[in-house]
């Protein structure tokens, strides 16, 4: 009888371990709406280290995984700048993170990021996820991939995950401004009507 109990315990332990350490098999990979998002300390194109904690007066953040080399990311560059210009003054700055491995994508090297930020006149930090430690925690799979965080007393809560709007190819043909709607609703203290959206993007590598 005792042996059976021990055996049973062993099986439970093995099962728990199997599930606990295989994030792809569970929902543990990346954030869901309502999760607390981790802070980070990543290098900006100006050489300074940036973390969310430095923004004392922020009400939230638009953390956007983007890069130089993805046509979709490039198509959205001007719209990302516009988001920063619209919402930074309202307490929700854009924080752009480049998640790719520059050894696999030379066009996303730190120096190329600096060039791109300079050429486009990025008004927001453009950070490199060196060692690729941050994007897996967020669960970003592609560029561009937006996470709207709301700053609370005890951390930053994920309020929206997804696309910037519903038309990558033509900013003038956009019908639904997903991110703007989400930020506006968050700032107004309203529930966010569309919390996740999807768009085609370039796999993060």
């Amino acid at each position: 009888m005792k042996a059976i109990k021990i055996l049973g315990t062993c099986i439970v332990v093995v099962l728990v371990c199997a599930f606990a350490f295989n994030p792809r098999e569970t929902d543990a990979y990346g954030y869901n709406i309502g999760d607390y998002a981790t802070d980070f300390n990543l290098k900006n194109v100006d050489g300074n280290m940036i973390s969310l904690g430095m923004y004392e007066d922020a009400k939230g953040f638009l953390v956007i995984f983007t890069c130089n080399t993805c046509p979709y990311a490039v198509a959205y560059e001007d719209r990302i700048i516009a988001l920063d210009q619209k919402y930074r003054s309202k307490g929700v700055p854009v924080i752009a993170i480049m998640p790719n491995n520059p050894e696999l994508k030379p066009g996303d090297s730190f120096s190329k990021m600096q060039e791109r930020a300079e050429d486009k006149g990025f008004t927001f930090p453009y950070l490199i996820d060196e060692g690729q430690t941050v994007y897996p925690q967020y669960g970003a799979t592609k560029t561009p991939h937006v996470y709207l965080l709301e700053k609370m007393a005890d951390g930053n809560i994920v309020r929206y995950i997804g696309a910037i709007d519903d038309n990558y190819s033509d900013a003038n043909a956009v019908e639904a401004r997903f991110v703007e709607n989400a930020v506006d609703e968050m700032l107004a203290g309203k529930p966010i009507s569309e919390m996740t959206t999807r768009a085609i993007g370039c796999s993060i590598r």
Binding site: P71, A176, A199, S203
Partner: protein, 177 residues
């Protein structure tokens, strides 16, 4: 030169070629609705509603629908495996390569790529910016990253948001037999 590309593509597109030629002739004679880019395309350009029938065929084949683009390096890497499977298992497996290249890339990148690589599988373009509407209709768990592949028969279907090796692809297709 353009005619040559057209002929090569029509041959490569196989059994559906007649319909395509008819359609391209038809659209060439009709007044273009928004712009003229589709008229000059020798391969089919669909919006999602147009693509849908290809995702729900009820014959006895195993349909492999690969979502790719010329700018997607992991897609280009796995493309030869899809080509190889389509040729080795012709009759059993039908491979369709759905390009998500943007309109500005069709002539500059996509058509030259198809010609250079002599792609044998059917290539179509999905041009539908309302991605938030159609992505979940292809698979509810698809984040939108490519490469991505749908494999289906009339009885079962599975979706893969990942790149394949040749061996993995063959093994996965075998599970549908």
């Amino acid at each position: 030169m353009k005619q040559l590309i057209l002929i090569v593509l029509v041959l490569a597109l196989g059994c559906r070629s007649e319909k395509k030629v008819e359609q391209s002739l038809l659209s060439a004679t009709e007044a273009p609705s928004k712009d003229t880019r589709e008229v000059e395309m020798p391969i089919e350009v669909f919006d999602f509603e147009g693509l849908k029938p290809l995702l729900h065929q009820t014959d006895d084949k195993i349909h492999v629908i690969n979502f790719w683009a010329t700018w997607c390096a992991p897609c280009i890497k796995e493309l030869p495996y899809f080509e190889r499977v389509g040729q080795e298992q012709a009759g059993t497996v039908e491979v369709t390569l759905v390009s998500l290249d943007m309109p500005g890339m069709w002539k500059k990148q996509l058509l030259p790529f198809i010609e250079k690589k002599k792609l044998q599988s059917t290539v179509v373009v999905l041009d539908d910016p309302k991605q938030n509407i159609w992505i979940p209709q292809i698979d509810d768990n698809w984040s939108g990253a490519i490469p991505a592949t749908l494999i289906y028969t009339k009885n079962q279907r599975r979706f893969y948001e990942k790149p394949f090796t040749y061996e993995e692809l063959v093994a996965e297709i075998d599970t549908f037999k």
